[in-house]
C-alpha cells in the first residue's frame, strides 16, 4: 500500500467517522463541530479527484461560511446549559433499518455496474477551464446564480429581523 492510498483511506475514515458523529451525537455542539471534519474530508476527496478549484471552494464556502452560520444558529437558539437534551432523536430503529437497506442496495448497485471509464485520466489545473466555461456556455446559469444569491440574502434579512409591533 503506497502513501497516496493510505492518505485516501485516512481522509475517507475522517469523513465517515465525523459524518457518523453528526448523525449519532447526543450534543448538538459536537454535531456542529463534527461537520467541520466532514467538510474538510470531502475537500480532501476533491483533491484526490483532481478538482483543485472545487476543493478550494468547498473550504471557503462550506467551512468558512455554512459551518459558521450553523454554529451561530446553534449558539443563538438552544440553551447551552442543558446540554443533555439538545439533540433529541426519534424513531431511530425504523430509520436505521430503512437507511441500512438503502445503503446495502446502493453499494450493491455500485459494485455490480460496469462503469464506463476514460482511457487515460489526467490531472491538470482546472481553474482557468472552469472560468472559461462560466463565461461562455454556462453564462446564463452563472448570472441566474447571482440573482438567486441576492434573493436568498434579502430573504434571510427579512426573515430574521425583529418585527416591531405598533
Amino acid at each position: 500500500m503506497d502513501v497516496s492510498t493510505a492518505v485516501f483511506y485516512l481522509i475517507a475514515l475522517v469523513t465517515v467517522v465525523s459524518a457518523g458523529m453528526v448523525a449519532f451525537s447526543r450534543n448538538i455542539i459536537y454535531s456542529a463541530f463534527s461537520l467541520l471534519g466532514t467538510f474538510m474530508g470531502v475537500a480532501g476527496i476533491y483533491v484526490f479527484l483532481g478538482a483543485d478549484f472545487v476543493a478550494a471552494v468547498q473550504l471557503l464556502i462550506y467551512v468558512g461560511g455554512i459551518l459558521v452560520l450553523i454554529l451561530f444558529a446553534v449558539m443563538l437558539t438552544h440553551r447551552i446549559t442543558d446540554v443533555e437534551i439538545t439533540n433529541r432523536a426519534a424513531g431511530r430503529i425504523p430509520a436505521l433499518l430503512v437507511v441500512a437497506l438503502f445503503l446495502v442496495l446502493v453499494i450493491q448497485i455500485v459494485k455490480e455496474t460496469p462503469w464506463a471509464r476514460a482511457k487515460e485520466i489526467t490531472f491538470a489545473a482546472t481553474t482557468a477551464k472552469i472560468g472559461d466555461s462560466f463565461l461562455y456556455e454556462y453564462l446564463l446559469p452563472f448570472e441566474l446564480a447571482s440573482l438567486v444569491l441576492l434573493g436568498a440574502m434579502i430573504g434571510a434579512v427579512v426573515l430574521s429581523r425583529k418585527e416591531i409591533k405598533e
Binding site: V16, L35, L69, A118, I130
Partner: protein, 103 residues
C-alpha cells in the same frame, strides 16, 4: 477500494448520503435536520466530481458541483433565518412542536 477506482468514491458518497438521510429522518432539532441536508448535498457533490473525473475527463461535473455548493449556501442562509424566526416565535426549534405555521 483504492483511490484509482470510481466505485470507492461512489461508495463513500453512498455512506455520506445514508448518514445524512438518517440525520434528516431522526433528528427533532431543526438545525440538525439542516446539517443532514448538508451531508446529503456533499455526497451528491462527490458523485458529480467523481463521474466528471473518471468517465469523461472534462470539468462539467465540477461546474455542477460549484452550482450545488452555491445553492447550499443560499439554502443554509434562508433555512437558518427561518429557524431563528421560529425560535423567536415559539422559543423552541423542535420540529414536532412547530407543526402549525402561526401562533
Amino acid at each position: 477500494m483504492s483511490p484509482n477506482e470510481l466505485s470507492s468514491y461512489l461508495t463513500l458518497g453512498a455512506i455520506l448520503f445514508a448518514l445524512g438521510l438518517f440525520t434528516v429522518l431522526t433528528r427533532r432539532n431543526a438545525i440538525s435536520v439542516l446539517m443532514g441536508v448538508e451531508l446529503i448535498l456533499n455526497s451528491a457533490n462527490i458523485n458529480y466530481v467523481a463521474f466528471s473525473h473518471f468517465s469523461s475527463g472534462n470539468h462539467v461535473g465540477q461546474i455542477y458541483a460549484i452550482f450545488v455548493i452555491m445553492l447550499a449556501a443560499a439554502e443554509a442562509a434562508v433555512g437558518l433565518a427561518i429557524v431563528l424566526a421560529i425560535f423567536q416565535l415559539f422559543h423552541s426549534i423542535d420540529v414536532e412542536a412547530v407543526e402549525t405555521l402561526k401562533e
